[in-house]
Structures are given as structure tokens and as C-alpha cells.
């Protein structure tokens, strides 16, 4: 019986009878480890790897310590910046062509159009998808860009204008502005009048629940709403006033929502992207938005 730890680990000289191979002397529960010697170059390769890793720690930022930046001064961020700069240089000729070409002409050129849609898709995901959704489907208060309802006009030039200057953007003088008044909150209408005019708006799409109220609301509508939304609720793009006679509702077309809109107003906002994106990107976004739902043909 071995009486020391050393003898336990390094037992009597032994050769495995089945294979004829010497054992290391290590034994666990009667199982002995065969000693199949590694080639010495393998050992040297191991040492070389250790030396390589030591060199790596000296040259590159390998330790989670502030200041351990490595002698080469390499950073992943720096490499990414260099990549981006290289890509920007490579993209510049195409971007210059985009800046010099009107959106309609971009659509007619398969190369430019493909480039603009591919670039616009990425820019849209970065800048627009947060509100308008990944595919431009919009959400309550954020217009669907794939449908055929355009608050401020759906021609390419109008879409580009909206992207550049935004809607109710506080820092842009050319931004699109209009005001849906807070009719009840500001005391211009009573709650009863608001109810009546909401019924009238429902009646424009044949959905009135109270015919008498709707009839009463027609007068309220004529007095307060027609100037922006038009006599039959056909909307006015100059004012960004939505159509009320169709089936697309930015905030919702049920009576509760309409009543809330009449009572407390609406003032959705969109940033002016001209200050954050370059003209070529805005043009690519215009073309991409066009590809979503076709926008509207330009006036000949």
C-alpha cells in the first residue's frame, strides 16, 4: 500500500498489459493513465503560443485596465472609424450623383434607383423606423408611409421637403406648421357642441350613431372646421389638415378618439432632418419611401 501522496500519484513502475504502453503512474479508482509522449515540437509550440500572447498583451489593449492601451495604440473604435471613412470615400461618387439628380430622374435610372433604395433602407432603419415602423407602417399618431394618404402631399418633392424640414420642428424656419385647435380645452366649443361635431365627422363616412346630433354638428362643422378640413371633410394639404371622408385615420376614427381630437387638439411633430442627414441621404430616403407604397405621381 502506498503511504504518501507522492506514491499515490506516482505508483510502482507499470506497463499496461493490453497495449504494452507505459503509464504515467497516475491512477484514479484503478484506472491508470497511459503515457503516450507528446512530440517535443508540440511543447515548443505551446511555449511559442505563450510568448505570442505575452507579446499581444504588450502590443494590443488586452487587459481590462484603463490606460492599458497597448504599444500599437490600436482600438476597435479606431478601426471602425477608419472603415467608415474608407466606405464614405468609396460611396462619394454615387452620393454626388444622387445630390445632383432629382428624385424623378433617380427612379428612371436602374443603378441610381437600386443604390438609393438600398441606402435609403438603412437610413430609414436608423432615423425613421423608431416612429414610422420598420416597414413604414406607422402607428397611432405616426403616419403610415405605405398607404395613399398624404397629409402634406405625396409627390416626391413634397416628401423630400417634409423630410428636410420636418413638421412643427422648433429649430427650422421652413418647417411645416399648422394647428388643430383645442376647441373644448380653450373654451371655443362646449362639450355638447364637440359631441355634435364628432357625430357629424362620423356621418361623413356614414357611421353616425346619433343622426340628430350629426345634423346639429353640421353647423358647428361649417363654422369651425371647414376652413381647414373643407366643406365635405376633403382635407387641405396646404394646412396639413387630414381628409375626414376616408378610411385612414392617423389617431383613430372611432368616436372617442375623434371627440378627444376635437376637444384637446393634435400637434404631432417630426424632426427637420436637414440638420442631421446629408442631402444625398435625404434623397435616398425619399426614393425609399416612394418604394414603400408608391407615393403619388408628380403633377405633369
Amino acid at each position: 500500500m502506498p503511504d504518501t501522496m507522492h506514491d499515490t500519484l506516482h505508483g510502482a513502475p507499470h506497463r499496461d498489459e493490453h497495449t504494452g504502453t507505459a503509464t504515467t503512474g497516475h491512477e484514479w479508482d484503478g484506472i491508470r493513465e497511459l503515457n503516450t509522449p507528446l512530440p517535443r515540437w508540440w511543447l515548443y509550440t505551446f511555449y511559442a503560443c505563450i510568448a505570442f500572447s505575452a507579446l499581444w498583451v504588450v502590443l494590443y489593449p488586452a487587459l481590462p485596465i484603463t490606460g492599458a492601451t497597448g504599444l500599437l495604440g490600436y482600438t476597435v473604435r479606431g478601426e471602425a472609424d477608419a472603415d467608415r471613412a474608407a466606405q464614405a470615400t468609396a460611396a462619394e461618387p454615387m452620393l454626388a450623383r444622387l445630390r445632383a439628380t432629382e428624385p424623378e430622374q433617380i427612379l428612371a435610372d436602374p443603378d441610381l434607383r437600386g443604390y438609393a433604395i438600398a441606402g435609403g433602407r438603412i437610413a430609414f432603419a436608423n432615423a425613421c423606423a423608431g416612429c414610422h415602423g420598420a416597414g413604414g407602417q406607422g402607428a397611432q399618431g405616426f403616419p403610415n408611409l405605405a398607404d395613399d394618404e398624404w397629409l402634406w402631399g405625396g409627390q416626391l418633392a413634397q416628401v423630400e421637403q417634409t423630410i428636410r424640414h420636418g413638421i412643427r420642428a422648433p429649430d427650422d424656419d421652413a418647417t411645416r406648421t399648422s394647428m388643430m385647435p383645442r376647441f373644448v380645452a380653450d373654451g371655443q366649443l362646449t362639450t355638447a357642441q364637440a359631441n355634435d361635431v364628432s357625430e357629424h365627422v362620423l356621418a361623413l363616412t356614414n357611421r353616425a350613431t346619433d343622426k340628430a346630433a350629426a345634423t346639429r354638428g353640421a353647423a358647428v362643422f361649417a363654422e369651425n372646421c371647414v376652413s381647414c378640413h373643407g366643406e365635405r371633410g376633403e382635407g387641405n394639404r396646404e394646412m396639413g389638415a387630414p381628409r375626414l371622408d376616408d378610411q385612414v385615420w392617423l389617431y383613430g376614427g372611432d368616436k372617442t378618439t375623434i371627440l378627444r381630437t376635437v376637444s384637446f387638439g393634435r400637434a404631432g411633430a417630426m424632426p427637420a432632418w436637414e440638420r442631421r442627414l446629408d442631402p444625398a441621404t435625404i434623397r435616398m430616403l425619399t426614393v425609399y419611401v416612394h418604394s414603400l407604397g408608391g407615393t403619388e405621381p408628380s403633377v405633369p
Partner: protein
């Protein structure tokens, strides 16, 4: 069965067995014979193909590469004679890799590690390097004598430097040929000669030159024994009917002098060990380091022929036959008398058995699927990607619209105009391809394909304002047809979805 010689059961110095072993240099001797000739033929074929294939020209028309076999990374195309593979068809590579793996499994279960011994690049290039080594340095004994000299003279140094220079030259040709599969070969050679080659290309040539020189010149059998995983699981492929290079111990043991009438046929001349490129003794039986190259067969056959004894003491033989012959001859005293009954006890190797049937069936299936996929390829193809956000759009007049991105790919090297036709629409629904204003005689919009590329179009399908489709999902078929006609070039099925409520 005669017991193969094994080391002593115990050795007094085993306690001091080192954990690391110095490399035992292998000095393979030249050998002639059938197997050697077969190996030369395979080597000439493999290396000939490897070095020459990039130089085969193939006319594909203007602005297209004229190289028969080319992996064009920039264009994302693989050219193989008349075949052009696009990146999205990488499943062909998967199929080829599967076929390759199953092919090696099948070959191993039939004939042992013939892949290792005959066709593995490590073996082929090592063989070439050993040939050059013999030409420059001399055969086994001359090389051993030189390496054992305490001091080298000028001639020794010259020979050694000459050998390594020749090796590096072969390695550079190997690295250069590799790069030629990825760039135009004549252009590359001109660039190299005029020192215009890009740093990337030089880097890759350098990398493959270095790895060839190290692996075939220095590492050699160490690659097979210590680096390659294949020897480790070869046992799973072999069974009693696999033909592998084997020593017929029932005939050879016990070893003795040629004139010793009580000994077996093996005269322990070590010719089989001397020619072995991995330095193993085949008489120890099937082992990890044996690459099944069969050179020991030639070496032994030459000796047996000189002695006037039957050849094939070492041969491609099955484990089952070794055992059968051993049993049949154990009662016969060692010597020539064992030969005939031992050979008679053998039976032909069963090449067709469940294992090989399975490999054959799997390879046939994969090959058939690949062939079917390949034959079904068309010049023009169309894919329809349905917009998923939003699934559908409600327009101002209450109609429902689905939007699709059509991807039209054209393998030909010229653009074509094709008419789009959409079928199976819900009643009253209309459709348009965005921004396509030209139409054919039947009023179908025309789209222009992109030569050797993919063109994208947007398709909108819109129901009538009150025309709600019956089903929530309506199958729709989008076809590309020849303008003014009905000849279909490509078609794809998709669906039209309406809101559930």
C-alpha cells in the same frame, strides 16, 4: 493466431518515462513495384491537375473571365467551365462536401485509408518532396550518413541548401497555383514578373508557400500522426471485410534467418520499415500512424521474389481473412507449408455489405438531389418577397393592398425585357408594378432584367374598395412571360392577405 512481438511487460526505468518524446527522424528508402507505380500515377494526375487547371481558358464573351475554373470573389461568382455558380447556390458546396465525406468513409470501409496513402495533399506533396530529396541528397543510407556526420563540409552544406532551395521553389509554385484559382492566371504571372502584384496576393502566396514548405518538408508524418483527426476515427469505418495494408503474421511469424527452416517467411530484413514514409512497422498490425500507402508491400514483394518465396507476405488483406488463415494454419509448423492452406482459408473480401450499401445509397441520394437541383436551374428566375411589416395596407378608399418585392435574376450576360403577369387574384383586385410605364401588346407591364445580376421591382396588389376577398389568404402566382406572348420564363407562388377583421 501467432502473437505479434510486443514490448516487455515491465521495464525497470518506466518510472522515468518522459512525457515528451524527441522526434525520431524517418529516412524512407526508395522502392519500386506495383504500388509505387500506382502512387506515381496518382501523384502525377493530382499535381498535374492542380498546377495546370488554372491555365485552361474558356470563352465566356466580353467582360467575363476567360478562365475555365475560377472563384471570383469580387463578382461573387464561381466559374467551372460552362457552369456559373452564384453565392446563393452555396448549397452545391454543402452537397459536394457531403459527397466528399461519404466518399472517404466508403473508400475507407472498402480499402482502408487509401485516401491518406494515395490522394491526401499532405501525402502527395510529401512524396514529391521526398523524391526531390532523393535526387539531391541520395537515398536513405546516404542521407543518414550525412546527418550523422559531426561536421558538414562545403559539399554537404551545398547539397542541403540546394535541397531546401528546391523545396521552397516547389512551395512557391504551389502557393502561386492556389492563388490562380482566385484570380486570372496569366495576369497574375505578368503582375508577379513586373512586381505589380498586390500585397494581398503576395501575402496569400507567401502563406501557402510557407505552409507547403513546412508541412511537406519538415512536418511530414507528424501531420498524420499528431495533427490530423482522421486517423483517430478510422477504426469506426473499418470492419472485418475492409481491405487494409496488413502483414500476414500467420505466414511470417516467427521471424528468422532465410535458411532457418523452422522460422516463418519473414526474415526480419526490415525492408518494410525502411521504405515506410511514416516510420512504422507494419508487422505491429493496424496502427494510427499507418497511412495505408502500401509501399511496404512493394518492399516485401521484392525481397520475397529474391528469396524465391511467394509474394504478398504484406498485402491488402481483411482482418477476417487474417484470423481465418491464422486458425487454419496454427497446427502447421511455421514455414512454406503454411502458405497454401492459409491462402485457401481466405474468402474474397465482401465489397457489398450493409455498410457500403448505406454509403452508396446516401451518395446516390445526395448526388441525385444535386443533379435535380442543377438541371432545374433556369437562366431567369423570380422570387417574390411579401412585405411583412405591414402585412397589408388599408388605403383611403377602404381597399386593401399587399406589397411585394420581386427579385428577377438573369444568368445571361445581356439584359432582357419580360412581361409580368399576376394570376389568381381576388375578384376585382388590380395590380401594378411600380414605375413601369411600358407595356406589351397584352397590356402587361414590361420589366428589364439585369445582365448577370438581380433586378428588383415593387409589385402592389390592391382589392376593389368593397371587394373583400373570401379567404383571409389567397394564393397568387406571379409569372414572367415573353412580351406579346405566353411563353413562361419563370414563375413564383405567393399569397395575398386581407385583415382578419
Amino acid at each position: 493466431m501467432t502473437k505479434v512481438q510486443k514490448p516487455e511487460a515491465f521495464a525497470p526505468d518506466d518510472r522515468n518515462q518522459p512525457l515528451y518524446a524527441d522526434r525520431v527522424r524517418v529516412y524512407p528508402q526508395a522502392v519500386t513495384g506495383t504500388v509505387r507505380r500506382a502512387k506515381w500515377a496518382v501523384l502525377a494526375l493530382c499535381l498535374g491537375l492542380y498546377y495546370l487547371v488554372p491555365w485552361i481558358r474558356w470563352d465566356r464573351g466580353p467582360d467575363q473571365p476567360h478562365q475555365a475554373v475560377l472563384v471570383d470573389m469580387d463578382k461573387g461568382r464561381l466559374f467551372f467551365f460552362w457552369i456559373e455558380v452564384w453565392p446563393q447556390e452555396v448549397y452545391y458546396l454543402t452537397g459536394l462536401l457531403l459527397l466528399g465525406a461519404l466518399g472517404i468513409f466508403a473508400a475507407t470501409s472498402l480499402f482502408g485509408r487509401v485516401w491518406c496513402g494515395f490522394t491526401c495533399p499532405q501525402t502527395v506533396w510529401t512524396d514529391l518532396y521526398m523524391l526531390v530529396e532523393r535526387w539531391i541528397e541520395g537515398d536513405r543510407n546516404a542521407r543518414m550518413r550525412r546527418d550523422q556526420k559531426p561536421r558538414w563540409g562545403a559539399a554537404d552544406w551545398g547539397i542541403k541548401i540546394g535541397k531546401h532551395a528546391a523545396w521552397v521553389a516547389i512551395a512557391a509554385a504551389t502557393g502561386g497555383a492556389w492563388v490562380m484559382y482566385f484570380t486570372d492566371a496569366p495576369t497574375l504571372v505578368m503582375d508577379l514578373l513586373s512586381f505589380d502584384a498586390s500585397p494581398t496576393i503576395l501575402g496569400f502566396i507567401g502563406l501557402f508557400t510557407l505552409s507547403t514548405y513546412l508541412l511537406a518538408g519538415w512536418a511530414r508524418e507528424q501531420v498524420c500522426t499528431y495533427m490530423c483527426p482522421w486517423p483517430r476515427f478510422q477504426s469506426a469505418m473499418l470492419d472485418d471485410d475492409s481491405l487494409a495494408v496488413s502483414y500476414r503474421a500467420w505466414r511470417g511469424e516467427p521471424r528468422g534467418k532465410a535458411r532457418d527452416t523452422s522460422a516463418g517467411d519473414c526474415i526480419d530484413c526490415r525492408a518494410c520499415v525502411n521504405v515506410c514514409p511514416t516510420g512504422v512497422d507494419i508487422r505491429d498490425g493496424l496502427q494510427l500512424a499507418c497511412i495505408n500507402c502500401g509501399l511496404c508491400i512493394d518492399a516485401c514483394d521484392n525481397i520475397m521474389a529474391k528469396l524465391g518465396r511467394p509474394t504478398a507476405l504484406i498485402a491488402f488483406e481483411t482482418v477476417g481473412n487474417l484470423a481465418a488463415a491464422g486458425t487454419a494454419t496454427c497446427a502447421i509448423p511455421p514455414g512454406p507449408a503454411r502458405c497454401a492452406p492459409g491462402m485457401a482459408a481466405r474468402r474474397p473480401a465482401r465489397l457489398l455489405r450493409p455498410r457500403t450499401w448505406f454509403y452508396a445509397a446516401a451518395m446516390t441520394t445526395i448526388g441525385a438531389v444535386m443533379l435535380w437541383a442543377f438541371v432545374g436551374r433556369t437562366d431567369v428566375a423570380i422570387e417574390a418577397l411579401r412585405d411583412r411589416s405591414p402585412l397589408f395596407v388599408r388605403l383611403a378608399d377602404g381597399s386593401i393592398r399587399n406589397s411585394y418585392t420581386l427579385k428577377v435574376s438573369d444568368r445571361r450576360h445581356a439584359t432582357d425585357r419580360l412581361a409580368v403577369s399576376v394570376e389568381g387574384l381576388p375578384p376585382g383586385a388590380a395590380w401594378q408594378v411600380l414605375d413601369r410605364r411600358d407595356a406589351d401588346a397584352n397590356g402587361r407591364p414590361l420589366v428589364e432584367t439585369r445582365a448577370d445580376g438581380v433586378a428588383e421591382f415593387r409589385l402592389f396588389v390592391t382589392t376593389a374598395p368593397e371587394g373583400r376577398p373570401e379567404e383571409e389568404s389567397t394564393p397568387v402566382r406571379i409569372r414572367l412571360v415573353a412580351p406579346d406572348g405566353e411563353a413562361e420564363r419563370a414563375a413564383v407562388g405567393t399569397i395575398f392577405l386581407r385583415p382578419r377583421t
